[in-house]
Structure formats: structure tokens, C-alpha cells
Assembly symmetry: D2
Homo-oligomer: 352 residues x 4
């Protein structure tokens, strides 16, 4: 099992560096006989790609996905699906001057410590570009997971919070915020940070609807646990909460316990998961997105020899990555859920 893999039954292994030849993924354990639309995979990749609006990086990449194997006559065959996107706009020369510099907030020093060497072109595997394969794989999962719908959006940016969850409007603004009014304010805040060569963070919420009761395992692989690992495996994510999450810690048991009536649960403080297993309600998670590490502003750092340097990261960077995290978070939720579904199907058959 590779540490670049996610999922035991529906298994995704990503490969490729941001400034190498290509990035991609191998997806295995795909149930056979499902119609898989490459256009739909591309549509999801387009939601992730750079250059979509003023609030994201101005770098342009077409991120065209290429299916190398595993589909035949438009259907999954049950064999590994290899997906590749060749890198186009990789200006490695932008990075030559940074080869010996540890950029603050980046993984330069930690990669060097771990591996004893570092692919200094761009951020290598630490780049957000690694998530391209995840989004492609997640799209395949979503096309198979009939009955389950996953939505996500930016619900907070630099302290500006969405008060509404109008998921229909999330895709119609640059921030992917489910509250149109808040979206405008969030965009303003992001552009102000960009103006100052700085970046801002935020919170993304992911909701999965249509998940039946009974998915997830009760101890070491709770559904909460799998969602948490999936979300914190996304670059720049430093926190996750399920349901009311940290706010739950301020309630009383008599408030936080979701009471049940004849028609089901009366509230959903627990985010659709009890004892690690889905309740049949919406599964709800929120993730903390740190401000993008690459900023133009001067920062103090050191080079590989420990000598102090001032770093200004040139190039075209994201002032706020929340809008581009949204499709990645959806994809990771899809990967968690399809594995939970297949696992439950192994345990109980179709009866479950």
C-alpha cells in the first residue's frame, strides 16, 4: 500500500510533480459496467483549474484529462483507470532562484529533512496540483454513487461568514459561497489581500445528501475518522469538524444528543454520523483552509545552509484557495463514501 493512495476498496494513487511532465492518478477497484463520462471528469477538473477568476491565480493551464486505461466502450471494465494531465504552463525558471531557499509556509525544509533532497521546481508533490488526480478520481466515484449528492462551498473567508446555505448560488460566484451577499464581501476581502501581496484563509463546508444509514465502521475507521483523514490530506487544510464540531463542545448532552421521533432524527448536531456510522441524515463537514503560503510580500526565511534571506515569491499565486479547495473537498468526500459503500456491500451484500 502506497502512502500516495487513498481508499482500500476504491483505491486512488496519485503521481506527478507540479513542474514535472504530468500529474495523474490510477484508480482501482472501480465497479464494472458503469457509464463514465470523461466530459464530466473534465468539468470537475475545470472547477479546480487555475485562472478561473480574479480571486484565484492567473496562471493558465487547460488541465486536459487523458484516460489511458480501464474504460471500454464508455464503461468501467473493473480494471485500473489511469488518468493523466500533462503540465503545460510550468515555468520552472521562476523557481531556479528559490532552489536553495526555504519558502515560509511551504514544505521546502520539511521535504529536505525527510528525503535528504528536494525537487525544487515549484512545490513538486506538495503543490496543489497533486489534487488534480483526486478530483478526477472523485468524479468517477460520484458518477457511480447514484443517490448520493455532494455539494460544497466557501462558508467563511478571513472572518467573513456565510449566513445562508443556498447551495444553488455557490457555483454562480467567484468565491463559491452559498450566500450571495457574503460572497460579494468575501471577494472584496480577497482582492484587498491580493492588492497587498498577501493571502487570506477561510472555511469550506461539504455536505453529502442521500447517504443511507449504516455506512462507516465503528472503531478505528469511523466515518468521521475517514472524512477527517481525507480532508486533512488536502494541502493547506489544518482542521476539520463534523456536524456542529467544536461548537458541540459548548453544548450540554441534552442539547447535543439528536432526539428521535417516529419520522427520524429531529436535529442534526452530529453531522449525520453516530458511533462512526451514518445515520441517514446529511453528512456535514467543515474544514479550516489556511491562507495560501505563496505571497509576494517580503518574508524572513533562511536558505538550505541556514543563512537568513528575504523571500518574495514572484509568479502568479492564489490570494485565497478556498474556491479551488471546494471541488477537491467534494472529491475527497466522494472517495470516502464510495469506499464506505463498497465496504458495506462486502459486509451485507445488496441487502444493506
Amino acid at each position: 500500500m502506497s502512502s500516495s493512495s487513498f481508499g482500500r476498496l476504491f483505491s486512488v494513487t496519485t503521481f506527478g510533480e507540479s513542474h514535472g511532465e504530468a500529474v495523474g492518478a490510477v484508480v482501482d477497484g472501480v465497479p464494472p459496467g458503469y457509464a463514465i463520462s470523461v466530459e464530466e471528469i473534465q468539468r470537475q477538473l475545470d472547477r479546480r483549474k487555475p485562472g478561473q477568476s480574479a480571486v484565484t491565480t492567473q496562471r493558465k493551464e487547460s488541465d486536459l484529462v487523458h484516460v489511458v486505461s480501464g474504460l471500454f466502450d464508455g464503461k468501467s471494465t473493473g480494471t485500473p483507470i489511469c488518468l493523466i494531465a500533462y503540465n503545460e504552463d510550468a515555468r520552472s525558471q521562476d523557481y531556479e532562484k528559490l532552489r536553495d531557499v526555504f519558502r515560509p509556509g511551504h514544505a521546502d525544509a520539511t521535504y529536505t529533512a525527510k528525503y535528504g533532497l528536494r525537487d525544487y521546481r515549484g512545490s513538486g508533490r506538495a503543490s496543489g496540483r497533486e489534487t488534480l488526480g483526486r478530483v478526477a478520481a472523485g468524479s468517477i466515484a460520484r458518477q457511480i454513487l447514484s443517490g448520493v449528492t455532494i455539494v460544497a462551498g466557501t462558508v467563511e473567508v478571513a472572518g467573513v461568514r456565510a449566513e445562508r446555505r443556498d447551495w444553488d448560488v455557490a457555483e454562480s460566484n467567484n468565491v463559491r459561497c452559498p450566500d450571495a451577499a457574503a460572497a460579494a464581501e468575501m471577494e472584496r476581502v480577497i482582492l484587498a489581500a491580493r492588492e497587498e501581496q498577501d493571502s487570506v484563509g477561510g472555511v469550506v463546508e461539504v455536505v453529502a445528501r442521500g447517504v443511507p444509514a449504516g455506512w462507516g465502521d465503528p472503531t478505528m475507521e469511523k466515518l468521521d475518522s475517514e472524512i477527517a483523514r481525507a480532508m486533512l490530506s488536502i494541502p493547506a487544510i489544518k482542521g476539520v469538524e463534523i456536524g456542529d464540531g467544536f461548537a458541540l463542545s459548548r453544548l450540554r448532552g441534552s442539547e447535543s444528543n439528536d432526539a428521535m421521533g417516529p419520522t427520524g432524527y429531529l436535529t442534526n448536531h452530529q453531522g449525520g454520523i453516530l458511533g462512526g456510522i451514518s445515520t441517514g441524515q446529511d453528512v456535514v463537514a467543515r474544514i479550516a483552509v489556511k491562507p495560501a503560503s505563496s505571497i509576494g510580500k517580503a518574508q524572513k526565511s533562511v536558505d538550505a545552509s541556514g543563512k537568513p534571506v528575504e523571500v518574495k515569491i514572484e509568479g502568479r499565486h492564489d490570494p485565497c484557495i478556498c474556491p479551488r479547495v471546494v471541488p477537491v473537498a467534494e472529491a475527497m468526500m466522494a472517495l470516502v463514501l464510495i469506499n464506505a459503500w463498497l465496504r458495506q456491500r462486502a459486509l451485507r451484500g445488496d441487502a444493506s
Copy 2:
């Protein structure tokens, strides 16, 4: 690989139900030749056991650990260590009347949905008692992980926050709070909730010191990700944050990026992890603990047939489980770290 297992190299599989014959764990992948003190394992279990003070359940269990295999002449042999603790004070009859009732906040309905049947004696595997094996396994990990020290404490209860991190005082108060003044207030709040047959939640912080730079993997198995899955696999945990976590999402990049100087990082907003790999600083995580689900107060629910019932959970329950979560969170952190260490040793040998 079992869904009751944690860790690929140092692997822990728990077994047993709260009201069955015993609970325990099998620990495999233990490096050979390490002196393992059973007394120290027991000491950690005693920190987890019920009945320690007024703020925890009054149920009494000695939780005596029994080592069945894998140690010889006081040392690890490299073969599986099986640890068992027999259940003593299991009043199954307390639960007979609840056999068809879905207790609010518990996993009764979700287990039934998942498995089609349920061991209704106590909470079965969903009980906090399942964590006994984790604490025992974590103690073995800690005895081997020389140079790494793990501390944890309750840093918030029902909104009352610790302002200090005097880790030395954490073990000297009932709440395991690293702020003596806050501890007194927390205890008062817990006892008030207990008086009202209710429960409260809180936040536990875990800190690992002495972790060298270079542990953790860069993509799907980031150290953040492994900590997140470990923590959310603990019963009642509904959120986790690494370093400043959700607060990071309100900073600017120029603030959240930990600048470096010749002597190392100048701040630790990222919780000692960059790009999924340890920086050499303290590794810091905080987890959201929901209020204990078992409360004496009357709650609305249904039985297995969907008929409305009023539930009052009798017996001796924890008004706040934070103090008992503390050793479990430490143990899970130890299990994450020993796996990261062994993995790095596989990759680089002792040089790393």
C-alpha cells in the same frame, strides 16, 4: 486489514465489547529488544479507568491488564503482543430494558442499520471501553519512542477555557487541565451539569515534543491527516485542528507562515507540520469532545419499531469525559508517531 486496526507498521487491533467477557488489543510490528514495563502500561490504564474522581463515572473497574504474548524476559520479541482486560463490573441487567430503545446520541440505531442486529448489552463496541486496548498499545509505543514526550490536557470545558499550559499541573487536578485556576471552574461546571443529570463537552489538547523533522508523508498520509483520523476514531470526538487550526483561517498568509531564522522557526502556527511532514517543532493538536451521550435527564426517542419513548439512562455515567479522553488522545498520538518513525526508518534507515 481490519477496520478495527490502526497503523500499518506498528499495528493495533482492538477487540471486545463493554459488557462481554473482556476487551483488549493485539499489537504487532513491535520492534524487538525493547524493555516493556507492564506496570507502566497499567499506570496509563489507571489514568483512563472509571471511578477516578467526582467528575467521572462512579463505576468501578480495576482494568487489570494481562499480557498474553509477545514479551519474553521483560522485552518485546518482535511478535504480536496480545493484551487483555477482563470485564468485572458489567451490569448487563441495567441494559435489558434498553434493548429495543435507541438512546439519543448513542450508536444504537446506526449499529442496527449497519449490522441488522445489535449487542444491546451496554454500548458493545461503541463503548468508550474499547479505548482500553488503545491506551495499552499506546503505552508500549511510548516506551519505545525514546526522545518523544507526549502530554495532553483538558483546555476547555463548556466554554471555560484554560489560559495557561502548565503541563505539570494537568495531572494534579480532576479535570486534567494545565491551568489550575481554570480547572477549579471547570470542575464546578461539570458537577453542576451532573447535578442536573446532564453532561458537558470540552476541548482536549495534545502536544508531542521531541519529534524530529521529516516524519509523515506528503500527500494522502500527511502527518496532519494521520493525527486527524486517529483523533476522530476516538468515541465522542467530532473535530480536530492542527496548530492554530480554525484560527489560521482568519489570519493573513504573512501572519500564518511561520518565518524561519538561523536557529529555526520563529513561530509555530502550523502545529509543527508543513506539507504533511514534521518540522522538528512541537506537534500540536486540539480535539472537540462532545458532551457524553448518556444522561439521566429525560429525552425523546423511539424504539426499534419506531414508537416514541422517553429515555432516562440510569446507571453511573460520566458528566464530562474530557479527563478520560486525555490518556486516549495521548495514546493515539503515540500510535501515529511510532508509525511515522518506523516508516521513515524504512525509507531512510537510521540516517533519517
Copy 3:
């Protein structure tokens, strides 16, 4: 994942040393709701236990199995089943004199090389006693795998071959040979070897009937591959062949290809597996069992310091382990097949 585990979905982890306190296994991933007879588990263990006849060791152990968890009201609950058998007749003192001696054919020197130390009481984990947990787990698998029947028997001992496959008679002779006439000759040969303080080897054949077409994976986890690893994980097994196996290498393609007619395959040279996937025919494997390593005859060896010694292994040993390998091989086949079934059910649901 532990190196003491077998099976990804129906996962068995064994623990315990031959002369420690107990041996056993934790079985996880067990589909819930199946009636599991502990008597039937015991019946299988009795087939494996020492002291059954003159052709096996005269050591007596009752090998009573004890179910610690995972069953409730006689049914599997879907949670881990822990099975333990306490060691009774462990004469560790027999081994004290061998503590520094490397017994020929045993794993004494290799354990020492691997771990840097060795539990010298008996053979520790290298003992055939480790297979007790496998047989118990295999019995659970067999009780669940309705429609699949697994038989095995000794088909060769010291060059004496069974010419028939009367599986009904296999359990009625001491050698577990499916050819009554050959069985008598095999027994004679074994007793002659015992008389000379020596041991003999043989071949065991395992047949699984009722396996539907479509189980097994096509590349790295071919059904042949999983059977091979399962069989060679049994102590003393040094070869495996599927179907005609090595004899296939002497046929022509026009002979070895199993032709098909309207009612199915006309022959079964391939042992019921093509391209790693079951054909719907009997699945057939044969394994090479080396002569038992423990013999009373004087042998040349060295001690831990490299000094030459003469070794005579006292105690009560098996002159031929084939009859006791039979239930273990059946159990391992069951573990392979239940995993293949669950995997196929994950992939295709009950339709498969």
C-alpha cells in the same frame, strides 16, 4: 496491517507462542447475523490437535477454544471475534537445554538473526501451534461460506502415493488419506521412520467445491496467488501447485487448455482458475510438506556462539505432520475463498 494477519476483508490476526500462556486469533470483517457454532470450531481444532494417533506426536493438549468477543446470542455481530486457547502441556524445561542451540531445520538461527533475540521456549511463533488460530478462524469462514465445501487429504507420504480420491475415507484413517490402501502403506512408512527417530514428508491436496465463477482478481491478487501465499504461510510447506501444476509444464497447449463445451469445461487441468479468476469448477491445490524438523536422531549443528554441537531433540514429536496439516490447509483455503467472495460482493453486489 500486521504481518501476522491474513485477509483484507475477512481478516485474521494470530497471536501467541507455543510455550507462552495462550495462542489465538482475532477475526475481523465477519459478516453479521450468521449463526456460528463454537462446537464446530472445536471439532476442527480437534482435527488439528496433537495426540490423535500413533502417526502424530503423543503430546496431549485439549486445545479448548474460548470465544472472548464478537458473538452474541450465537450469532456473529460484525465486530471482532477473539478466540483463545490456553497452553496446558507446555514443558518449557524440555527446551532449557536448547536455549543456545540452533536446531537443524528449525527457525532458531533465523529468528535470532531477525530479531536479535529469541523466545527459546519451544519454537515460539515458529511452532505449528500458531496454526490453531487459523483453524478456528477458518471454521468461522466455512460456516459462513454456504455452498462451498472444502476437503483435503494426504495424497503422498515419503513417495507413497494415493491413487484414488475417495474423500469420504480420508477422515477414517490416521493419515487422512483419500485412498484406504495407500493409507495403510503410508502409516507403515511413518511408523518405520518414527522407529528410527526420524521423520518423513508428503503432499497434501485441498479441493474446494461449489466456488462460483468470477472469484479472484486478475493481476497481483490472482486466486492462484492468494492460495499460494496462504499455503506457503503454513509452517513446513515448501511448494504449491494449482491444478496439474508442475505436470502442466510437460503438456502441450493443445492438451493443457481446458476445452469448453455447451455444458462447461471438459477437463480441469488448470485447477479451476483461469487468469486468476475461478472458473466454477473445483479449485484444486497440492502442497509439499517437508519432513518434520524435530527428530530424535543425532544431528550436527552449532550453538549461538558458532561452536559445533550434536543435537538430539527429545520430547514427543510428529514423525509426519501431513495428517495435522490437512485441517490447516482446509482452513487457509477457506480464508482465501471468503475474502474472494467478499471482494466480489463489494465489486458487484449480490448480483455477482
Copy 4:
């Protein structure tokens, strides 16, 4: 974990169909900082490629390997290495007429049973072409495994046996046989079978020299077990034996136990593995290679509807695949050993 993957620490996942766009592999867990020669990878692929001599298929493919990721400045970076070879000479039209026919000895019927559909262009994943990625990955492993040398050769074809093990001559004849005299006879036998539109099988022997004592795990993942699974995961392999293998079953314990003297073991009947752990001697395995399934001779079969058909497989096929199995068997041995090495390094550090 994918069923198309081999190895837990040094993990290889293959992808691609014989008549799709490309085949390849993703290799993860590669220790960083090793110089990896792409020329050497290509050299190994050239040993596996079709069209090398009269005894193999006349199909021509250049099998050019393309490294997509994971190398930088000629060295492994520790991140996934993706290797691709595009398919060139894929005459899918040869197969159109076979789309509804189940070819004898092939996996056509079993794939259909497993997946409910089949990529009928060539043999899809069941093609020997899938092994290209394995050989590439194995070459990387061999370049890292300093001190270990792996050789293999054809030691039997259609009953003609090599009497010598002159490994130096194995690469200088078309059959890759370590006995020059036997090689000539083997070649004659193969060409005779080809003349009759038939095929023959054989036996390949693999030897690993320089493996230190202590590699391998003692129970479920014995080194024998890992070699067995690796070998039987190669297409057309139906048996494996370690050391003397099946011949061991005809020896007495006093003969088969490898005695030890002050300078080490005096014989190597056990193939360099005792109790699942390497002894420090040569590790020796032999595998049974069935006759190639694709033959021009008329064979009885059925189509997907069960109607009888006569099948003559046109195209350019291998009359004996032994010479092309040789580099694959070496590669799989390398993958087993590098995983055993990394696992031992995790357990003991460099000290082991």
C-alpha cells in the same frame, strides 16, 4: 489498497490493457537519493519484449519506457515513479472476430463471469503485456538493492531438463537456459511445437544471492509465502517450490534438515529460508510455466451464448513463454526482497 498492487512498503501498481493506449506502473515507497538509470530499466524491458528470437512471438514492439514522475536529476526523490510504455503494434482487428468467443486456456470466460463485461481487444489485463510495468518496477528495485544479485533461467522445457546451472550462459541462448547443451535441445522442442501450431511449457528457476539472514516475517508473511504469491501472480504460472520443494517431501528429516557447521549451513535444501526468514544462503525458487494458451491449432470451445465453436487463434504467439518469463520472475523476486529489506529496516534500523 488495490488488487493491482504488489508490496506494502515498496508498492507497485500496474495499469493498462494489451490493446489499449498504454501499459505502465506507479511505484511508490522508493527510498530517495538513489541513482536510477532509465537505460537499465529499458535493458530489462528489452529482455521481456516480444520478437527477440524464433522461440518467442514474432510480434514487434519497442516497449520504450517513459518516466513521467518521481525522478529528478537522475535520482529517486522518494515520490511516486510513474512509468509508461505506449502500445504500438496493437492489431485490435485480429481480435474482433473473437469478441464473443471464449478462447481455451484464456481468461475470456472468467473475466466475463467476474465483471459482467470484457475488453475483448487482445487479452486486456490478462495479457502478458501487463508484466511490462512489473519488470520496470523490478529494475528500480534491483538498482537500489545493492549487494543482492538475482538471476533466473529456464531449467526445463517440455520435460527436457537443464543439468547445469551455468548462469553466465543463460543470457547467451534463446531459451535463457543455464545449460548450453540442454538449451539447444529445448530450442529444438519449442520449434517443433511451433511447427505444429502448438505450444510447450517449462520450469523457470530464480536465485537471489546476497540476501542477508533475517529478512521475511515468521507467520502470515513468510518469505516463502511472499515469493509464492509473487510468482503465481505472473500469468501462466501454476506452481512454485522453494529450495528442494516437492522433492523435500520425499526426503527424511535427517536428510532435509540443513545441518550447520562453524562456517554456516552445510546444505541448502530449504532454499535459503527457515521459518519464513532468510538464512543468509541463496534464496532459490522454481516455478511451473504452463504451455502458452494461444495456439493456432484448432480447439473446441463455445461462444458467449454457449454455442460450440472451433477456435484457431491467428496472430503471432509465443510457442514457449519461458524465456520471456525469466525477466518477470527476476523482477517479482526483486519486489519481494526490497519489501522484505525495507520491512526489516523499519523493525531494526540499519543495525539489522
